[in-house]
Amino acid sequence: MRRSVVLIGLSILILAFGFVMFSGCAKKVVKEAEEEKTTTVQKEAAPAAPAAPAETEEQRLAREKALREAALKEQQEKERMLAEQKAKEALAAAIAEIQDIHFDFDKYDLKPEARDMLKKLADIMLAEKTATVLIEGHCDERGTVEYNLALGEKRALSAMKYLVSLGVEKERIKTISYGKERPLDPRHNEEAWAKNRRAHFVVTVK
């Protein structure tokens, strides 16, 4: 019984402290606005009454108005940040939906699914102007190092050209080929090869 009394007491103390802290912060903003106002008023009133600045009705209204404005500003800022956060999350979700596109053996032309994926990427990049993309071209393990480096680059360039045709600025796209040297699946079978013939997208947002 005694313990709960102590607990309640403590909670009240913490609450009270929190309240004081909070109101202190809020007051600070108001105070600054007040001071500003006062200075201007003082300047205007200076030639007539240099002393005794008793608060006039006008001053009171101004003070209250400033208070309301500050509160509104705070609210708007909160909403703006929330919206920004939501947009960020939406962008991250959209980027997360961007998957590798795949190619046929020894081919670098874009399949319909690849075009759909690139359209999604283009939408992101057109909406978010700070977004840049690195396109990595990859191949399956069959064939020579050099030929696959070239083929991987052709794949990355195909993807780039399509993005450019959709309105994305070329300057925001970089390409690199790893040929057959960075397989996603290191096994030596058709399933692995199909996974490894791909273009991979690394989207960066500032």
């Binding site: 020894d106 064939g143 020579t144 070239a150 690199i176």
Partner: protein
């Protein structure tokens, strides 16, 4: 090393007596497609000095020389236990050898020798005899330290090859290759017999395509060290590396000019993969091809007048040949729908390449006019052929039953041997020119 070893040749004395030309007879025609292995005997060496043979050098010399000759693929080195004579004791000059003891076991050539330890000096005599004619073909005396004895053996092995085949062999060559573990690869070299593994790069990146300069003093390669595939130049005498090319896109150096400091490149700086030549002394790159297709892996013919390369302009990768200025382009390979990695034989005439057969890759050779196509390998997956400087062997990368290896075979596909194994993956085999090591 070369200066420390004193060599005395005493075949000239014999010449004065016999008046026979030294290389008058080719004992082994190694360019023939079906060669009979040449039977040779190597006897235990005699201890010619007073110092006891503590390290059993007598059999070491015979073993080591026998192994080196065996590796060439041209010899049948006769087992010593079949020998009649009392090895290590009977004479080592023509007058003291009973040649009938050697003909009866089927030997056509015989190597005998002797050594002498004098403090920290080792003197070794090697003699090669024609058993049938009963005469000395060549003899050499080397003087050095006991640690030089491997070099002495390889130098004399080269002499044996020169006498019997007309060329000195590849004992003074190395093979460069890319060893890959996971996503990282580095450049390595091994000696012609697989010994002396050495790592040349330590970039902890993707490093590819080692290519020797014709004098063996420099090497180009491509590395992603700084993010982009750029071309680097390695000075093999001092070990210094410098970046040579870093255009945007691919920078690949595929071949040095047989005539000197010029290289063949594939660059994609203009958006297409084109072949360029570059003079390393002036640093200017000149474009040779001009089309939308992939053009890659260019190599010069030994006379520098033609270039073989890979292009997919016909819908699949095939090997093409053009004149060095880019004119007169023509397709070389028609069989199969995936042929890449051309390697022009150092003496001309033939081109080795890899082609797809039943979903995997095998090594082929074809005459440079398109005739005489031959498949040299058939089991596992075999890629990236590179000729030895004497055009008698091909080194290539192989994967068989999940095991990755670097292999060597004779140019006709026979005598396959493993040069190196144990790394995650082998790529881009590249045989050095003669390095004049010995």
């Amino acid at each position: 090393m070369r200066n420390r070893l004193r060599v005395v040749s005493f075949v000239l004395v014999v010449l004065l007596v016999s008046l026979l030309p030294v290389y008058g007879k080719v004992y082994i025609d190694i360019d023939s497609p079906t060669i009979q292995k040449f039977p040779i005997a190597v006897a235990d060496f005699n201890n010619l000095g007073q110092t006891p043979d503590g390290e059993n050098l007598s059999t070491w010399f015979a073993d080591r020389l026998g192994n080196a000759l065996q590796l060439t693929g041209f010899f049948n080195v006769i087992q010593r236990k079949t020998f009649f004579e009392d090895q290590g004791k009977s004479g080592i000059t023509a007058e003291t050898i009973k040649f009938s003891d050697w003909t009866v076991i089927g030997a056509e050539s015989l190597v005998k020798g002797g050594f002498q330890l004098n403090g920290s000096d080792l003197t070794v005599e090697f003699r090669l005899f024609d058993v049938v004619q009963g005469r000395l073909l060549t003899g050499k005396r080397y003087t050095g330290r006991p640690g030089d004895r491997e070099e002495m053996v390889l130098r004399f092995a080269g002499e044996v090859l020169l006498q019997l085949t007309g060329e000195k062999g590849v004992f003074d060559t190395k093979v460069a290759f890319v060893g890959k573990e996971g996503n990282l690869s580095e450049i390595y070299t091994v000696n012609f017999d697989g010994s002396g593994l050495k790592r040349l790069t330590n970039f902890r990146s993707l490093t590819l395509l080692p290519r020797w300069s014709p004098d063996g003093r420099e090497m180009t390669f491509t590395s992603y060290r700084d993010g982009n595939p750029d071309v680097y130049l390695l000075d093999l005498t001092g070990g210094k590396v410098r970046k040579l090319l870093d255009f945007s896109g691919l920078n690949l150096a595929s071949c040095w000019s047989p005539q000197g400091r010029k290289i063949l490149l594939t660059l994609s700086k203009g958006g297409n993969h084109e072949i360029y030549t570059m003079d390393l002394n002036h640093g200017t790159a000149t474009r040779v091809t001009s089309n939308y297709a992939i053009n890659v892996s260019p190599v010069w013919s030994p006379d520098g007048k033609k270039i073989a390369y890979v292009s997919d302009r016909g819908g699949s990768p095939q090997i093409y040949i053009m004149d060095a200025d880019g004119s007169n382009q023509r397709r070389l390979t028609y069989q199969g729908n995936y042929n890449t990695s051309p390697a022009w034989a150092p003496k001309g005439g033939r081109i080795a390449f890899e082609g797809m057969v039943n979903g995997t890759f095998q090594i082929f050779v074809i005459d440079e006019d398109g005739g005489n196509l031959r498949q040299l390998t058939s089991s596992g997956r075999n890629e990236s052929p590179s000729w030895s400087p004497d055009a008698r062997y091909l080194v290539y990368t192989s994967r068989l039953s999940g095991r990755h290896r670097l292999c060597v075979m004779n140019a006709n596909g026979s005598n396959v041997r493993i040069l190196h194994e144990g790394m995650g993956e082998y790529m881009n085999a590249s045989w050095s020119p003669h390095l004049n090591l010995y």
